[in-house]
Amino acid sequence: MVEDVRIYGGWKDELGLKVVPSKKIGKDLYEVFIGPQHPGSGHMRITVRLDGDIIVEADPDIGYVHRTMEKLGEIRGWIKPIPLFERMAIHDACNITMPYVLAVEKLMGVEPPLRAKYLRSLLCEINRIGAHLYGFAIFGVFLGHSTMYMWAMGDREVFIELAEALTGARLTHSYPLPGGARRDIPADFPDMARRAVNYMRKRLKEYEKIFLNNPVIRSRLEGVGVISKGLAAELGIVGPNARASGIGYDVRIVEPYDAYPELDFEVPVFREGDALARTMVRVEEIKQSLRIIEQAVEWLEKNPREPIVDKYLYGKYPPLHKKIMESEGRAKLLPISAAMKVPKGRAIGRAETGRGETIYYVESDGGVNPYRVRIVTASARNAIAFKYVLPGHKIMDLPAIYGSLDYFPPESDR
């Protein structure tokens, strides 16, 4: 059968059924399926073809966790999709729902007050640190560095604890709402946040010693999986992966949303584009996120508490709702939000999630449901990198490249 394999368009097997291979397989190439059950690959498969142990062709095969997010978003009103969309990147819950909320806000014509904007940015940054630490943990175990796995997962718990104090849930916060946020900070939150920030700063220095500057790790990362600036731009790679290749693109800069224009932080960019640069970008981003958390907490502490929903919506609040907002800092939903109608129109929401830019296109026909919700997540745009980065490397570099790209299948497959 080997000779037949070389024919494009398939052949007939013994039972007369047509077999169509996706690609021609050379006579002396090995075809290796990495995933979807492979412990390192997540819910995806990479078909790599090997000449000896050099990868000559890689084919990312995505879609194993497709959950029809876009279609489900069309049948459950305007508020209810928020807990659904969180399931795309559950450890990045506030970031991934932010663009949807921004788009719906544009359609509704509501504007959250400044305090709500700060609260949302605060949770976004807590989530970003959580997402990066999660990425480190997986990356560490890919490289056989199980200490990093334990440390990053353990330190992520600190930020989950912070998010729980703020929102009342560990991961699925459902925190932003069109026109505001759901809860104000509890009284002891600023102290908790400051302690967490100080702890993480110390911890990052230790990460450097045991992981980033560790000669064993560095020799596996340096010069591996280089994405040049041109290639990154051509493939449309976003987020930390693009910034490691020298592209200074961040939605927080090009189209600032929420409280970001008022905060003082940097967007780190590296020029090298290899696996080490992609790792270092994330480390630097954690440092910047810690800075943002400090600033946001200080602002929230300094400024007096005010209603954290849009003025128009707050005007509709009955006295009981206002009382709860004052005493508990909890924003009640108006009963109308269960079946509200949003004016006709189209809107695009963009936000920088942990893994890059996420875009929602939301169209309303004036009904109780969105007419169309199109989601383009960061991982979906980064998945193509496997095809162009892997060839030319040894098979043992695959975990290093996979881990450094920080690809997250549930986010990509939607």
């Binding site: 459950r76 508020i79 209810k80 999709p81 928020i82 807990p83 200490t147 353990g154 718990e157 600190v158 604890e161 912070l162 729980e164 104090a165 009342g168 849930a169 699925t172 459902s174 809860r183 509890p186 908790m192 302690r195 967490a196 702890y199 110390k202 230790e206 010693k209 045991i210 500057n213 560790n214 000669p215 560095r218 020298g246 200074g248 961040d250 927080r252 800069i253 224009p261 003082d264 932080f265 940097e266 967007v267 780190p268 960019v269 590296f270 020029r271 090298e272 080490l276 640069a277 270092m280 009955p318 009981l320 709702h321 909890r330 924003a331 009640k332 939903l333 108006l334 009963p335 269960a338």
Partner: protein
């Protein structure tokens, strides 16, 4: 001050000496944590983490406050909450009964988003701060109106010692007793 892009050089390591010192630094930090481990376990169920007051745990109904508006059932993203019709005594003529709607919940479906609690116009629904309860069969997770009004039994609290997780500058998270010891 607005955010800005900052191009940074990758920290270079090289040379024979750096290789030795980096290896030693990695080893030293391993030894440091080997001798002085900053870790802890929560021996569940002998100890259990007592969660904060605002935690979104099980949802309980206060029937007296309910005005049968069905907003909770309509906002529920996972269709866990449903309205049922129950006969209640007529407000003016006690011998007659009228049908009134009350919410019931299916905890197989609930995702604890708390939208129902937030939308309730009379604060008839509230969260308790625990949600580690085991059910022997799935049918028990359908709560009828009577079950929905009572806070569920929390056997862990009767047997275990409550602990609290504190964020600590040195240890990250620290396990501290939730309450002062009595006696």
């Amino acid at each position: 001050m607005p955010p800005k892009v900052a191009v940074k050089p990758l920290p270079k390591r090289g040379g024979l000496l750096a290789g030795v010192s980096d290896n030693l630094a990695a080893l030293m930090i391993g030894i440091k944590y080997f001798l002085n481990p900053k870790r802890f376990s929560i021996y569940y169920p002998k100890e259990y983490p007592e969660l904060r007051k605002g935690y979104r745990g099980f949802i309980i109904l206060n029937k007296q406050k309910c005005i049968s508006c069905a907003a909770c059932a309509r906002i529920c993203p996972s269709a866990a909450m449903k309205m049922i019709r129950v006969p209640v005594p007529h407000p003016k003529e006690p011998e007659k009964t009228v049908m009134k709607q009350f919410p019931v919940i299916n905890y197989q479906r609930c995702i604890f988003c708390g939208y129902c609690v937030d939308i309730c116009p009379t604060e008839a629904l509230y969260h308790v701060n625990y949600h580690d309860i085991v059910y022997e069969n799935l049918a028990e997770m359908f709560w009828d109106l009577d079950t929905f009004q009572k806070e569920p039994e929390y056997p862990t609290a009767e047997e275990g010692i409550p602990v609290r997780l504190m964020i600590h500058e040195e240890y990250g998270l620290l396990k501290v007793p939730a309450r002062e010891k009595q006696g």
